[in-house]
Each structure stands twice: as structure tokens, then as C-alpha cells.
Subunit: 189 residues, 2 copies
DNA sequence: AACTTTGTACAGTTTTTACTGTACGTACTT
DNA sequence: AAGTACGTACAGTAAAAACTGTACAAAGTT
């Protein structure tokens, strides 16, 4: 049911309530490294009763269509919104992914995993180079001591990132919801 | 064992290896919403063989002491570095928190939890206002329909945030490590 | 094929964030 | 108590990011 079916006064009342929520969602969106305005856009789509196109978004947000385009693309990259097909309309339509658990999982799968993989790769390479350097100067005790410390630290780091990978895996395959169920256990508020 | 005990050539070799790792750590630090240079600072401290003071950091980073001060404060807020006391020195000394699992947990406990709590509060308030508005115009069917949709969405959101709170709880109390152990299960690389 | 409509690349502008230098409060030293 | 060392607040500057308008490519319509 669209907001525009209401008379002005009531429409304004609903709008005011939504606005506070949208602002908050937008503000907290920087946890995901998403700009405030894109967060607002997300909030707008969240309360929209139907998929929106870029022009509608721009109108509501009082921002340029270009900005809407880039904003939506960011949200699409994170799978926080989906493109929707609707016959009759030539415009691209978008709606939010209402399954926030899924959005949470996707965020880690997309952003964190990439970072983790890159870190592991770099650390592996650095460990190799360290080993090589050590072999090249076998009789340098001081160097050996330095390298050993560095290696210990980097091995620790790799172990951590591998743990992070396994954690993300439990997110992606949904196992996390066995351990921390969506429904709260009885007796907890 | 300090790097400066080595001759120039070998010191440079070690430095080069460390540098790549530090750059990567710094770059990936934006996952935590931390500026690149502060990420670098973290990387520097990570490889330092002893706690550092602001002047030393500034020298290594070729940046102002003021920047080091604010950078360190950011890292302290996230508990990624710790202040260290050392008798004899009047300067403040800092070292990284080498327990990265703990840093991970702290990050969520500090940054995500705050956001979650604020979201829940705002949603609760909005739900109340929605209810009030509904009662004030009991015979407005259209309004009722709109409000009902909004309420459904907001209740879903609250449920999600409560799940997130429980997830963060399992991080903080360490339960997560029972489910996703730090040591990988046998047979996995 | 000419004409619309739609989304986005790109260059330029505005706004925000990061960084620096100075200046000052606090606390230690003599 | 005067002097020195240290860390940070604050104002100004430099750099980065967000946003806009124009221009154009792709696809649809007549």
C-alpha cells in the first residue's frame, strides 16, 4: 500500500517516523564502509512498498540520477539490493534484499574474504622470502634471530586469517545459524 | 633483536620484506574503518621488536608527531594497541595487541555493538510511534495497512539486530572458538 | 533509419577527511 | 619556583571522496 494514498497530514506523520529510522540505518551503514548518502538510499528502498527506478530515487533523495546510479551499484556489489524485472517498464528497478541475515553473510563473503585471501598470499610470499634470505646468509646469527621473530609473527598472522576464513565459511554455509539461532532461546528477552 | 644491529644491505632486505606486509595490513585495515596511514602505523608497530614512542613512530613514518598521536589514539580506541609502562622513560610507549583474535572480538564489541544498540533503540521508538499513530486514527484503513507493513519490516529488523547481539556475545565470551576452533580440524590445509 | 529513452563514464566542483604546525597544559627535573 | 619534556587541542592546509552536469553508448520505438 503506497504512502501517497494518504492525506497530507497522515502521510507526513508516517514520513517522519520512517525518516528517523532511515537516518539511523544510513548512519550505521558506515560499518560496511558505505557512504552516508548511499546508506540513506538503502533506507529509502527499505521502506518503499515497491521496487524503485533511478529517477524515483533521485526525486526522493533530491540528488542527481548519476549519484543514484553509483549508489545503487555499490549496494548491488554488496548484494544489499537486487535488480528486479517488471514487464512494461524499460527502466531498471531495484529493491532491497530484505533478508538481512543473508546481507550480513554476503558482506563478509565479499569484502572480508577478499581481504583475508590477499593477506594470506602476501604473508606466504613474505615467509618464503624470509626463508630464502636466511639460507643466503646462514652464518649471520643476528639476521637469523631477526628473521625468526618475523617468521613467528607472520605464522601467527596466517593462522589467524585461516581461522577468519573458517569463520566466514560457517557464515556462508549457514552453520552459524545452528550455533547462534535466528530465534532467541527461551527465557531471553 | 633490533633491526639496526644488521649491516646496511641485510637491514634493507629485511625492511623490504616487512614493507610489503605492512602495506597490505594497512590497506586491508579499511575493513575496520581505519585510515590507510593509521593502518601503516599499526603495521610498523606490529614488526617493532619493542614498544615505540610517538617520536620514533613519527621518524619511521615520516609524519608529524601530531598525526602519530591521533593515529595511536584511534588504535587504542579499538584496543589494537596497548599503552605500555617502562620505568626510566617519560614518554608514552605503545605496542600492538598481538592477539588478533582478541582484536577481532574487541572490534565487534566496540564498534558493531554500539551500532546495533542504537538501531534497536531507534526501531523500538519508531514502533511505539507507529502504534500510537494507529490508535489515533483507528478508522483509517489505508493508514492501518501502511503502518502494518512498516511494523512488520521493523520487527524483522529488530529480530535481526538481536541475533547480531547474540552473535557478538559469542565472540566476546569466547564461545565462538568452541564452534570455530583456532586450531583447524585435522586434514584441512 | 531517425528518434527516444535509459544508464553510466568522465571532467569539474563541492564537501569531507587527513595531515601539519603552533601553542599550550601537565608533569617531571633541577 | 623556573625550566624542560611531553602529548594533544585547535586552526589552517592539503588530499581524498562524494556529488553534479554533460555527453554519449546501447537498446527500444516509430
Amino acid at each position: 500500500m503506497g504512502l501517497y494514498h494518504l492525506d497530507d497530514e497522515r502521510q507526513a506523520a508516517v514520513h517522519k517516523i520512517r525518516k528517523r529510522v532511515i537516518e539511523n540505518i544510513g548512519r550505521n551503514m558506515d560499518l560496511y564502509g558505505i557512504p552516508l548518502s548511499t546508506g540513506h538510499l538503502y533506507g529509502l528502498l527499505y521502506f518503499a512498498d515497491k521496487p524503485m527506478n533511478l529517477d524515483e530515487m533521485g526525486q526522493e533523495m533530491k540528488m542527481s540520477k548519476t549519484s543514484m546510479s553509483t549508489g545503487v551499484r555499490t549496494l548491488l556489489d554488496y548484494k544489499m539490493v537486487n535488480k528486479v524485472w517488471e514487464k512494461g517498464s524499460r527502466k531498471d528497478l531495484y529493491e532491497v534484499e530484505y533478508d538481512w541475515y543473508q546481507s550480513f553473510v554476503d558482506f563478509f563473503d565479499i569484502k572480508w574474504r577478499k581481504s583475508v585471501e590477499s593477506n594470506i598470499m602476501v604473508l606466504r610470499k613474505a615467509l618464503d622470502e624470509t626463508e630464502k634470505l636466511h639460507k643466503e646468509h646462514e652464518h649471520d646469527e643476528v639476521l637469523a634471530a631477526v628473521l625468526q621473530e618475523d617468521q613467528a609473527k607472520m605464522r601467527e598472522a596466517v593462522a589467524y586469517y585461516k581461522w577468519l576464513e573458517r569463520l566466514i565459511d560457517t557464515f556462508v554455509d549457514g552453520d552459524i545459524f545452528n550455533y547462534v539461532p535466528k530465534e532467541p532461546p527461551e527465557g531471553k528477552s
